[in-house]
Subunit: 195 residues, 4 copies
């Protein structure tokens, strides 16, 4: 079973618009909760078949005071087909009622800003953030329920107050995404930017 | 197991545009084959989770000389989000390579013309047409593989040349859809126009 | 999709005992029905996970006047653990209520008599017999519902009265099982006698 | 998501025979590990279809130094069909290679001794024991992977050395099983002793 190393402070999301919230959310204000951040695209087959049902299951299995589920729509292909109105129709049809952020489009390339910040290489990507605001798990593709359950049990049980340098850890996942888009490939598991 | 009554001559499709074909298709020119006509919407959850994988399975299990699989995109809600460009992106991501017709939008209401002609009440709807061009099975929602396999085995084995009145049969399925749109409801199985 | 060649007249079953019947059955007396003969072992994982649920589905999808489902318990390993009393407990727990024959144990080796007659190489094996008593499909391992549905639709629609030599067809499946038992290997799909 | 109350010190297992071990195991000697104790019967449909695949997944997902998976064959019906030799054949066919205890048959009734001690009301039952030897979760029937993952993440992260009275907690689950056997009912989820 995976360890959950400290991958660095979770960066604030860059969001052009929120769905299913009264007011914009800030990660900073959610400290004390474990956050499950789910990056998806509405036309990504693996997101629709596996990821979104799993996120709904997490949403309903845990109390919202313990675990905050957040979706982020990180569109890096077919931008026109996956515009905000289309996402709203999708969220309505698929009964998604958790907060969903629309990732801020980039001015310089197809990959949106939060996806760049978090160096996500495709969708679905799961990012789990601990009660102190540190990224502890980040994965492209399908993750088994047993693995996510273990991570959430671990992070909910840990004492707070992490300290110390996390710079080395951050470097480990760095430089995986650049603004220059390569080939994009989707399979049953995920959609990915290949470079 | 269902019987396969003659539900009347299959009406020609009203199509604004075709995907995955070199030239527009005509049902009339496909006589001699059994036709599986699959009406779907790209944002209909039951279509995506169950129907489209099943249609692909039929496409690959039967020789194209025996069974012709046809999709028809019968958009009756969220018309803007499910426009032709969005459908093309969807077909690309989901690896749909069988012929897909875009149902001709209606000038008088949200329900497109072929959907009206066939009196389909929602998506996914499966229509099976025999070698002589008669509708023999029509169903809204998920259909078991055993049922479709049985229907195709039956229709491929039958001798051609049906005769006799089919008017009464046609009436049995008539008047189920009108141009006045009522509430639209989607569940895990299908999306439906309720009146 | 498979063709359904004539694989020869179905041989009468050799049965030491029947479950779920008032009187012993004879294939000969079932002519006019399509017969689905399902050879299984109670400790064969593929039989339990895939085959038996499928057989139950066939049993309930088709009228008993059209399709006769028959199980045959062809024990070729762990004979003591799969004795008739154990099978009765198994059939009770798994709610099997279709007729089940216990294949007559052999006097000369581990493979029982009907399994030898039909030259079955393992379990689960599906044998489909047409209305005139000819074997038309025989397969070791899991079969897709679409394939079985197609076979049943075809055989229910065919006219009766097959004629002509079937000797060549029979030879095609001959000599696959001998009384000398080799290694037995089970995987998720089936258990097989390897020689 | 469930809390994991202290349900009392885990009682030592009463075992007539072990499979897949060199020497008999004692719970007492496993302290420091989280123990997943899985009570099953080889002819219980819910155990075979859901529980055993899940136990294998847990066995392979966690290091054996962290989580010890133990099976216990708690036969309370069809005792003859589920005898030790039959269990060995079953374990061989289903590739079960974790330690399996055979629950000590009772001298006074159909329910074996460990099943009585733990007051299990049927199979499959999952019992999770923490690093200090206390029962923290006990459940009849199918448990979601997300729930088990959460429990294991929690118990692996907790500090050791629980203290304090657990008597009240124990009473909550007491008196659910007696030596007088009532009706036994199996469904897709589990087999249960009804009283």
């Amino acid at each position: 079973m995976m360890r959950l190393p400290n991958l660095g402070k979770a960066k604030e999301l860059a969001v052009s618009e929120w769905l299913n919230v009264d007011e914009p959310l800030q990660l900073e204000n959610l400290q004390g909760k474990v956050i499950v951040l789910y990056a998806f695209q509405m036309l990504c087959p693996g997101c629709v078949s596996h990821g979104l049902p799993q996120i709904k299951k997490i949403q309903h299995a845990f109390a919202n005071d313990d675990v905050q589920v957040l979706g982020i729509h990180t569109v890096f292909e077919h931008h026109q087909a996956m515009n905000p109105d289309a996402l709203r129709a999708f969220a309505y049809e698929y009964r998604l009622d958790f907060p969903i952020a629309i990732d801020q489009p980039s001015k310089v390339g197809p990959i949106p800003e939060t996806m760049m910040k978090y160096q996500l290489s495709g969708t679905p990507s799961l990012v789990v953030i601990d009660k102190d605001g540190y990224v502890r798990f980040q994965h492209l593709g399908i993750v088994d329920d047993l693995v996510i359950g273990h991570a959430l049990g671990t992070l909910l049980t840990e004492q707070s107050n992490h300290v110390g340098s996390t710079i080395d850890d951050q470097k480990k996942i760095a430089d995986e995404v650049s603004t220059e888009q390569g080939a994009i490939i989707c399979n049953d598991d995920h959609c990915e930017v290949k470079r």
